[in-house]
Amino acid sequence: MIKLLTLCTAILFAAIPAKAELNIQEVTSKSGIKAWLLNEPSIPMISLNIGFRGASTTDPDDKLGATYLMAGLLEEGAGNMDATAFKRAAEGLATSFGFDSSRERISITAEFLTKNRDASVELLKTALTQPTFDDTAFERTKAQVLSIIARNQSDPEEIASSTFNALAFAGHPYARPYRGTTESVTALTQDDMRKAHASTMTKDRLFVGVVGDITADELAIMLEELFGDLPENGAPLPEPIKFQAAGGTTVVDFDIPQSTAIWGHQGIAQDDPDFFAAYVMNRVLGGGGFTSRLTQEVREKRGLTYGVYSYMAGFDQADYYGGSVSSGNETIGDAIDIIKHEWDRMAAGGVTDAELDAAKKYMTGSYPLRFDGNGKIANLLTYSQMNDFPIDYPKNRNSYIEAVTKEDIARVAERILHSDKMRFVVVGTPVDVPSTD
C-alpha cells in the first residue's frame, strides 16, 4: 500500500481526531495474536479492519496478479457455501464485508451489529481460512479482473502511475502492475490461488484494528477464533529500494485534451529525525488545501489546473517525494515549470514564520477530525500498526508537529528537494514538453 501521507484526499480524510481520552488498548489472544482496540460501546456495532502486509509484492514474477485475484475470491465461495450462499448469509445478518488487495496490503473489513457478532465472525473466518476458489467463481472473477485491467489501459492516471512505478522502482516488485497483466492473469490457475492464499495471509504479517461495542476480553477470544488457524509464516517480503529514476521527463502519447503528470524523486524515511519537518514543509509546498504554494501559483493565480498536489509517498520498502497535476495540453509545460520553480524556491529559502504557523495550526487542529467514525478509526489503527507507530502515537503526534522549527524545514528542504532530480511522467499530447528518454 502506498502511504500517501498528504495526498489530495487529505483535505477530506485528513483529521484523525485525537480525542485526548482516545483510549487505544493492545489486546493479545492466548496464542499471541495482537490487535489494537478502541472500545466504543455507544452504538451496538463493531468495525473490524484487517491488514496483511506484503500482498502482491510477493507474487512470483510469472504469477503477477495472483494475490489481487485471490483476495477478490475470498467472498466468492467458502466452506460449504458458494458465492451466492455466502453473500446471502451476510445479507441476512446485515453484515458488510470488504475484501480488497492493493500493492502491498490485503485489506479486509467487516461491520456488524453486536447482536450478530458470533455469526458474523464465523462467516468471516470461513472466508479467511476456507476459500474454495471453485471453478465458476474463479472464471467469473478472473474475467472481471481482466476487464479492470483492460479499462485501466485507457485511464490516464493509471497509465501515468504504472509508467512511473516501472521507472522509479526498476527491478523491484514495486515496478510491477499489482493487478497483473492480461497475459499473466489469463494464465493463473486455481492452484495459484491456493498458493497465494497460503503465502500472503499468515500470522507473521497480520495487523488488526477493532472499534466498537466489544471488550478486550471478548476481542481476545475473537482473535483466536478468527486467526488461530492461519499459517505462521508467509513468503519473504521484498528488500528496501531507493528511487531509481534519474531526473527527466517521460511522455506517454495519449489522445486526450488534457495532460496528466506525476513526478517524484527520492524521499525521506519515516524514522528519519527530520521526517516531521518534511511533513510540515509538504503542507506548505503542496500538501492539499487552497493555501499551498503550488495551488496558489498554478491554480489560483493562473487557472492552469483544477488540482495540483505534492505528497510524501511511503511504500513499506521505499520512500519518494512527489506530486501530481493535470492541465491542458497547451499549458502543462507552464505548470511543470512553475512546479520546478516552487521546488527550488522551497529548497533555497524554506518557509516563512506565517506559513509555518498556519501549517501547524491546520495540521494539529484537524488531526482529531480523522477519528470520526468507527470504520475509519479501525482503519487508522491497522494503518498505524503497519507503519510501526507506537500505540501512543495518536496522543503524541501533535507534539511532533509543534516541535518543528523554521530551521528544521530549511535544512530538510535543502536536503531532499532537487528540481534536477525530479522525474516526470506526462500522459496526453503535451505541447513543448519533450521526452528526455
Binding site: P17, I43, K87, A150, S326, T364, G365, D372
Partner: protein, 453 residues
Amino acid sequence: MAINESLSMKSIFHAVTYFLLTLTPAFAIGEVTTYTLDNGMEVVVLEDHRAPIVTHMVWYRVGSADEAPGKSGIAHYLEHLLFKGTDNLKSGEFSEIVAANGGTGNAFTSYDYTAYYQRVSADRLGLMMKIESDRMQNLKLTAEEVLPERDVIIEERNSRTDTNPNALFSEHRQALMYKNHGYGIPVIGWRHEIAQLTRQDAIDFYKKYYAPNNAILVVAGDVQPEEVLKLANEHYGPRIPSDAIKTRVRPQEPPKRAPVHTVFEDPRVRQPYVIREYLSANRKSGDQAEAAALTIFAELLGGSGVTSFLGQRLQLEQKVALNVGAWHSATSYDRDGFGMYVVPAQNVSLQEAEDALDAALTAFIDEGVDQEHLDRIKTQIDASTIFEQDNQESVARSYGEGLTTGLTIQDIQDWPNVLAAVTAQDIMDAARNVLDPKASVTGWIRAPQEAAK
C-alpha cells in the same frame, strides 16, 4: 473547491454506491432539533457527542437545473467564486481561516442544490457561521479573480468529463432522456457555454438565489441545539431575505412517445457495456411510497451483485455478464431516473447483453418478488438505522439533500418507515409502472467497430 457528486454518481461504476446512499435512511444520530429563523432560514441540528467535532453546512435550494438557457455551469462556477473575497475578507482568506482553525471544508453543486461545508472543532462553530453567513450576501468579485477561475473550471471539466469516455457517454444519455428539463444539461455545464460565462452572470445568479430564505443550515456534532440557535440568530439572523425566491417550477418533460436507443463510440473504450434508464418517480413530500418501492425494486434487481436478480440470471446462470447493477435516483426535485447496466462477458455482444436484460426484466415481472430476498433487504434497512448513527456526515447530508429537493423534515424522518412498509405487491406495481419502454433511453458504449476488429 468543487466536488460534484452528481457527475461521478452518474458514471456507471459508481452506480451501486449511489444506490446504497439512497437506501440509507435518514435516522438521527441522537436528537434532531429544527428551527426556522425569522428571516426564513431553516436550521437542523443533529447531535452526536462522541467527539468534540462539528460539521457545519449551508445548503441553497438552487442547482444547475435552475440555470437560465445558455448559462449552463453558472451554479457550479458561482460555487467556486464563493471562495473569493467579500466586503470583509480578501480573496482566499475564507479557506485560510478554516485551515488556520484546524478545519477542512469544501463545497458541491448538483442539479437541485449547492452546498458549502466545514468540519472543525466544535468550539469554532461560531467562527464558521460568521464567515459562511458573510459570503451569503457580501461577495465581491473582481475581474482578476473571475477569469482564472473559469479556466480552472475548464480544467475541471477536462479532468472529470472530457478525458473520460464513460463520463461523456453519461452526459450524452442524460441529454437524450431530458428533452425539456434541466437534468439534461450537465451540472458542470457544456464546454462552449462555460467558456462564455461572465462575472455579471455570476453576480446575477448570486443576487437571485443566495438569501437566508433560500438556505438551510445543517449542524451535526457535539453541540447543544439552543446554543446553535443562538449562534445562528447572531450570524445568519441579520441576512436579508429575498422576495424574489419563489417555488421552483421548471420546464417538465413532454409525454415520452418512443424508446430512445443510442450507440456511443470512442477509441478509448476498452470495456463496452449497455446501460438503460427509465424516467421514474422521485420522493415527493407526503408521497414517498412509489419512490420507496422503486428503491427496493432496484436493490432486488441489481443492488448487490450476484445475489440480486440480474446477477443470478445474467452472471451466474446464463454467464452473459461480467457485472450488473441497478439503481434508483429517488431523492431529487423532479422526476429522475431508474437505471440498470450490463457489462457483457467476453464474446457476448451488446445486442445479446441487451436481449438478456430484456428477458430478465420480463422474467421478473412474470415471477414476482422473491420473499426471502425482500426479507434480507428489510433486515438491512432495519440495521442501517443503527449503522447510520456512526456516520454524522452522511446523516447531515441526507437532511440537506432532502430539504433542498422538496421534502420536509417529517418526510425525511418517515423515509425508513416508508421503506420498511413496502410490500411485494407495491414493488410489482411500481416495477410495471416504471418499465415503460417509451420512457427509456438505452445506450451502448464501445470502441469504433473498425478499431475493435
